[in-house]
């Protein structure tokens, strides 16, 4: 056993000596900023210009791209949307808001809007609890954790088209899914998974869940890394069970991540196109048509570029309104993580 040092030992220790030696340094420190300040003031103007140039230099290319490929097309779409135009020849048949009226009066389009909202609701209702459960599970120290994480994330990495084609093959009548269902003695439950208007949307939801659950899990896992250890320790010291820790500590601290994921999920669901296009093409009998699919059908398939532009503008507006609402009411707290002092004083 090492003998504890006495008071005299501590005073004579190197640490004490080092502490004393620091002092002169510290006292010299205030001199430095004044020198620097002089230099800065002499070149203040050019420094400001330089900062501006730097900002322009670094954001310029991005702004040009943004303008060219996002702002201009959006404005063009707005322009096209008030014409009856088949994509060929000049824009000369001005129809005002007729295209919008026609879209809102078309049951296939309104059906598509409903489908999009159903997909948003179901995506969040299914993937949130499931993703959270899997993330919490995979955050524990279990055997094969890395492997399981890869397995869960794999579908998200696959290209939509590839995954879609594979699912089409699995789900076709007398395909593998039917064979498995029959193999476990549930032959009566086989369905026309993609061919029956009543269940096709459900089938699509299952595939979408399989495809995008990985994103939720990976985001939640990343969020879990950001929850500090000491909070867990404190909870454990207070005698909280594993469940209590998850419910009272982990999930609330995961809030910002969950809300951000919800935003991504919502926007993704609104613009959903590729997976559904491959699986069903919006069919059968328009039962799985989404706004984006309706847009492509009317535009590139039917050549109604003016009308399709109006649909695109509607899709844009719906997305924008939902995004702003979500930002305002759900993400507001997260955006104010570091409140300014004067607000805190109020």
């Amino acid at each position: 056993m090492t003998p504890r040092p006495t008071g005299a030992d501590v005073a004579a220790s190197p640490r004490g000596a080092a502490g004393a030696a620091d002092r002169p340094d510290r006292s010299a420190a205030p001199a430095r900023p004044s020198g620097g300040g002089r230099r800065r003031s002499s070149s203040r103007l050019s420094a400001r210009t330089r900062t501006r140039l730097e900002i322009a230099f670094f954001t310029g290319p991005a702004l040009v791209l943004l303008g060219l490929f996002i702002v201009v097309p959006v404005l063009q779409a707005v322009r096209y949307s008030v014409f009856d135009w088949n994509g060929l020849g000049p824009l000369d048949d001005f129809v005002g808001l007729d295209n919008y009226a026609r879209a809102l009066g078309d049951t296939v389009f309104t059906g598509a809007v409903v489908n999009n909202f159903v997909i948003i609701a179901l995506s969040i209702a299914i993937q949130l609890p499931l993703g959270l459960a899997i993330a919490l599970l995979l955050n524990r120290d279990i055997r094969g954790r890395g492997f399981l994480r890869v397995v869960i994330f794999m579908p998200y990495v696959l290209a939509e088209v590839v995954a879609g084609v594979v699912w089409v093959l699995l789900l076709q009548p007398n395909g593998l899914v039917d064979a498995v269902v029959e193999g476990v003695g549930l032959g009566g439950l086989t369905q026309l998974w993609l061919g029956d208007p009543d269940i096709a949307l459900g089938t699509v939801m299952v595939v979408l869940t399989w495809k995008y659950l990985g994103l939720a899990v990976i985001l939640f896992l990343a969020g879990l890394q950001g929850v500090p250890e000491d909070v867990y320790e404190a909870a454990q010291l207070d005698g909280a069970s594993w469940w209590q820790v998850q419910r009272r500590v982990t999930i609330p601290l995961l809030g910002p991540t969950i809300r951000t994921w919800g935003f991504l999920s919502m926007i993704g669901s609104l613009q959903l196109f590729d997976m559904v296009w491959i699986l069903t093409g919006g069919g059968p009998a328009n039962s799985t048509v989404t706004m984006a699919i309706y847009l492509i059908n009317q535009g590139t398939e039917r050549g109604l570029y003016g009308y399709a532009s109006a649909v695109a503008v509607l899709l844009f507006v719906i997305s924008l309104v939902l995004a702003v609402l979500y930002q305002t009411f759900v993400l507001r707290r997260d955006n104010e993580v570091a409140p300014k002092p004067r607000r805190a004083a109020r």
């Binding site: 088949n86 994509g87 060929l88 020849g89 939509e160 088209v161 879609g164 093959l169 076709q172 009548p173 007398n174 395909g175 026309l192 993609l194 061919g195 029956d196 208007p197 096709a200 196109f273 590729d274 296009w277 491959i278 069903t280 093409g281 069919g283 059968p284 009998a285 328009n286 492509i296 059908n297 590139t300 398939e301 039917r302 050549g303 109604l304």
Partner: protein
């Protein structure tokens, strides 16, 4: 996502189905390279050569068609010194997508494929397609009535090089097993055949209603049987479908659908993609028959491992007649592809079209089973027996009605196909089909 678009954008029927592999062609590159070398080599020679270059887009991107067209172009270049032909042999879907883009920018290839009807009318109205009427009167004469689908107000804008007709392809073995000795000639006989096949445990008919147009072909044919030629011709120009025969056509079809003759899950079945497609089901003997065009044997060959399709068991019969219909019972539904020149193509383009429709080139085209030639001089060269039968039927038909969706253009045609697919799903009535078409055409 682009691939996804290509995958689905099938209003197409007339395709070389095996030619699905993406191929932007070494040939085109090679041709360009050669052209560049030639230009760099020396501009001193060439006499009357004005250095005309023709760009030519076609969809025969697999052999023997691809090599044949290279030869055809080389022959033309040899006979017309100074003319260079730059070929782009594209996969069919790829070609359609690029053509759409080309039409929108006005930067069209000099020689390209036109499917006729409303699509052509749009191109002509936009001033993109050359009027051939005064340039090639003799060739137009040779092609005969097949050229109708590519004429607007009596002017000819493209020359069809392959025109086929739609009918039932069937498996002779399965018909025999079900005890059907003669192919059905009337709707009643078709119903009886369907019942006999069902009794024998065979799925009677496959239809790719997922792609919509294969389902729509049924309605086109019942309309062809119910409506007189004058009514149809009138409808194509006026887009007025108020004649009661169009509702009757839907009722005939509804009766057929109600007998449940179609393959399991037909609402989601694709036309030609994969073994579970309508063509695949016929090729793999899962169903007894399918309504399809002249491309069917080729499609089926591509969908079987031995590349034989149904082989010897392949049979064909025309769409049955409808009792009491005002239409000609021999009238055929069909369509095809035609060569057109862009409005701004060099004058030599016309000579090249003439060359493409010549006895010699059409004969070579027929010998390689690339399609059904429109130049009668090539008829004897069609070697495939099934295609030869079909050609005979086409030539004996009083008239060949262009596919309605092509004839009416993609907007009205698309609305029509969508509504007919809903009728197959039991979600639209015969009147709904007419209403939807009228609404899209603005003639309601």
């Amino acid at each position: 996502m682009l691939a996804a678009l290509l995958h689905r954008s099938t209003t197409t029927k007339d395709m070389h189905p095996m030619a699905r592999n993406r191929a932007l062609t070494a040939v085109a590159l090679l041709a360009t390279a050669t052209a560049l070398t030639a230009c760099g080599g020396g501009d001193s020679g060439g006499g009357d050569a004005d250095g005309s270059t023709l760009t030519w887009w076609h969809n025969s991107n697999t052999d023997p068609g691809k090599a044949y067209y290279e030869q055809v172009a080389a022959d033309f270049e040899a006979a017309n010194p100074g003319t260079t032909i730059e070929i782009s042999a594209l996969a069919h879907e790829d070609m359609l997508t690029r053509l759409d883009a080309a039409f929108q920018t006005g930067d069209t290839p000099d020689v390209y494929m036109e499917r006729g009807g409303g699509e052509l009318a749009d191109h002509v109205e936009a001033g993109l397609t050359m009027d051939l009427s005064d340039e090639l009167p003799e060739t137009i004469e040779t092609v005969g009535s097949s050229v109708n689908g590519w004429q607007i107000d009596g002017r000819t804008y493209a020359l069809p090089f392959s025109v086929g007709v739609v009918g039932f392809w069937y498996n002779t073995d399965l018909f025999e097993q079900a005890g059907i000795t003669e192919p059905p000639q009337t709707m009643e006989e078709l119903d009886a055949a369907v019942q006999a096949l069902k009794d024998a445990g065979i799925q009677p008919i496959s239809v790719g209603a997922g792609d919509k147009w294969p389902a729509a072909h049924y309605w086109y044919y019942t309309a062809l049987r119910e409506c007189g030629q004058d009514v149809l011709e009138d409808a194509v120009t006026s887009l007025d479908f108020s004649d009661p025969c169009f509702v009757a056509a839907g009722e005939d079809l509804q009766e057929l659908v109600e007998t449940e003759p179609f393959n399991e899950g037909f609402l989601a079945t694709p036309a030609q993609q994969g073994p579970a497609s309508a063509s695949g089901l016929l090729a793999t003997e899962q169903v007894a028959m399918e309504l399809a065009g002249h491309w069917e044997p080729g499609v089926m060959q591509g969908l079987t491992e031995d590349n034989e399709g149904l082989g010897e068991k392949t049979g064909w019969f025309p769409f049955p007649t409808v009792a009491g219909g005002a239409g000609d019972p021999e009238a055929a539904l069909g369509g095809g592809d035609a060569w057109a020149c862009a409005a701004d193509a060099p004058p030599v383009c016309v000579d090249f079209l003439d060359h493409l429709l010549s006895d010699e080139v059409q004969t070579g085209f027929a010998e390689r089973d690339m399609g059904l030639p429109t130049n009668p001089a090539a008829n004897d060269a069609v070697s495939d027996p099934a295609l030869a039968d079909l050609l005979e039927y086409r030539d004996s038909a009083p008239y060949v009605q262009l596919y309605f969706d092509t004839a009416f253009g993609e907007n009205v045609g698309g609305a029509m196909n969508d509504e007919i697919a809903l009728l197959f799903a039991g979600q639209a009535s015969p009147q709904d089909v007419v209403d939807a078409v009228q609404a899209a055409a603005g003639t309601a």
